[in-house]
Amino acid sequence: MRERILAAYDPFVLPFVFGMTFVLGYCLIALVKVLVQLTPADRRKFALSLITPTTIVKNIRDLFCDCLLHVKLWKRNPVLGYMHSSIAFGWFMIILIGHIETVLYIPERLHKLYYPIFFRYFMEEQNETLQGSFFFFLMDFFLLIILSGITIAIIKRFRSKIVGMRRTTKLTLTDRIGLYSLWAIFPLRWIAEGFTAGVAGGSFMTVPINWLLHNFMSKPENITVAWWLYSLALGTFMTVLPFTRYMHIPAEMLLIPMRNAGLPVRHTRKGFALTMLYSCPSCGVCIDACPMGVQKKNVKDATVYLVRNLKRRNNRRTLENAEKCLMCGKCAALCQVQMDACGLRLAYRTTHEQRSNHLPADFGYLAAVEPDVSAAGKTGVTAAAEAGAGSSGTSVGAQKVLYYAGCMSSLTPVISRSVQKVLTSAGVDYELMDKDGSICCGRPLMLAGHQEEARQLIEANRRLIEASGARILLVSCAICYRIFKEKYDLSGITVMHYTEYFNQLLKEGRLHVSNGHQTLVYHDPCDLGRGCGIYDAPREALRTVGQLVPALKERKESICCGGSVGSLTLRYEDREPITRGAIDNLTANNPEQIITACPLCLKTFGRFSPVLVKDFAEVLAEHLTPAQPTQA
């Protein structure tokens, strides 16, 4: 290899140098801004994580798998996965190989920002060495990969259904400029390198195009034009990058270490949240994911538009969007950059409520609520059992249980009745926490943005739970379960959802059930599945009483029932289509019964479902066999 242009400079590099300098400067300022906006504790936490070996390994792995290879997207949609990773990884490799070549052949030019990018223009292959041809091949190989990715991207833009997306994001003007310049970069690079392939060398992509267009490409005056166009496309892309969705490329590099450091969303537009907003690639996966999307008018309430409105400081639309969301978390579960969409909305609601609410809450009455001691006698708690609680080793069935049915369950008494029937059948020593009316768990208040008020309810409930002397807090409501898990600090008490608990009882042989051979479909409640990651326990238990059939979309992709207390403004009429959509999804394989594990889903589905809807405990209680003598 030797230098073809001895000056190592040509004016055509200027657009690229300008764009690159601009984007680097912009990112540097943004980085400082984000770091300044972090709270001192968060900053320390972040700094510490950057020197922790396990986090370093995780950061590198995530950067490689998420930013370059798009592993998550591959798993979900291989065509889209190929499209994104071919462009990201291919481009990364081209830049990397450019730098390797510079380091190998002409290290003294490495300080020139543009040199590795326009390496082919400045350098040429000598006949006596074959070393270069390896890199020529690699460069052309990755160029081919990128061009195939760009082809899919172009198809996707005009016919998104071909690549498996029903709806794609509506782009802004700057997004379009960024998109078209991105599309232009690689074909232009191919042509530009095709010109120099004749004089400086090339491989299977660049040499044939040089032959094919020989008359055109052999004219020296055309060479500079082609390289100028390539540099202009690069420069345009870099210059508009900070104002387009492509800002996710640098932002994600910061987001991943911040996320791995475990920073929380404290504000809707500052610090970690700001990084998160700019990491959104506007891919539009959240648009198809959103259960509200069954109505066209709600399409613009998908997370991608929330992010856009937050970035634009469009407070009116952001508020509408934040308050309307069901907080089912599906968009966040499917998001490629793990956007904490619910966290952002919750932070927005909280700030808004703090500012505009003039209704002071008074939960002083909760202090007077006494633990329900009368229940003890009725449910067979003995002093001996209380003394023995905790010493029974690993068996959950032998430990004293406090059952919290929750507010919603009082509207669906079948749940509470069935749970008690199952507990009695298993001979479990239990107490009822809210027989005479419950104190709400606090999650509805929290979701409405009233954090301080929610904390008061949490304290009141915690007092009752700790006074009970139970070792297990049994919860039959997915909404309550999530806040008990996340926000209650109950030392020495295990919080269990009844699906987990009953499945454990079945495994321990304390419950005896018969299989009714009915076809059942299980609905994953949002707060239980995506919220707490419980997918298998209910399914395992249901297999013992019936034949489980799959829903079209389940587990992480399960569709919200539409009754969620997460949405503040969604009206009754607008919830119905969501519920119907969810029912259609569940009944795709013609099950005889829909089984859910949340009183709210039970109530909501019950309204519109043509198929019998039952609660998890109800179906279990129905199949209990009398073989086991009851304790009570």
Binding site: E323, E353, S356, N357, H358, L359, P360, A361, D362, F363, Y365, L366, A368, V369, C407, M408, S410, L411, D436, G437, S438, I439, C440, G442, P444, L445, A448, H450, L457, G563, V565, L568, T569, L570, R571, Y572, E573, L600, K603
Partner: protein, 111 residues
Amino acid sequence: MIDFGYGLTPSATLKIENVDNPLFAELHRREPDVSKCIACGSCAASCSAGVFTQMNLRKVILSLQRGREKETLPMLQHCMLCGKCLLVCPRGINTRHLILSIGKVYKLEDK
């Protein structure tokens, strides 16, 4: 006026001129469901806070319609927003949003 020890007590008097219609209109703009209420009392019957306190959404709505927003504060401040009223309402009123909207329209804390 001579106090004869009987007659209308002040608390039972509805003074229509005191009804702050612009405020109620604003509430109606934010949550149009407020006019759907048929005062059936399902919300009050199912209320979690109602077990322990005087919270009664039916009364709250009636009081607001009659311009007696002061009377609503002792009730509303106990609401835990649990959403049971939302599920039982035969008119499908978005009760939680109604309560949140009352807190924004009426400056109850100042009175």
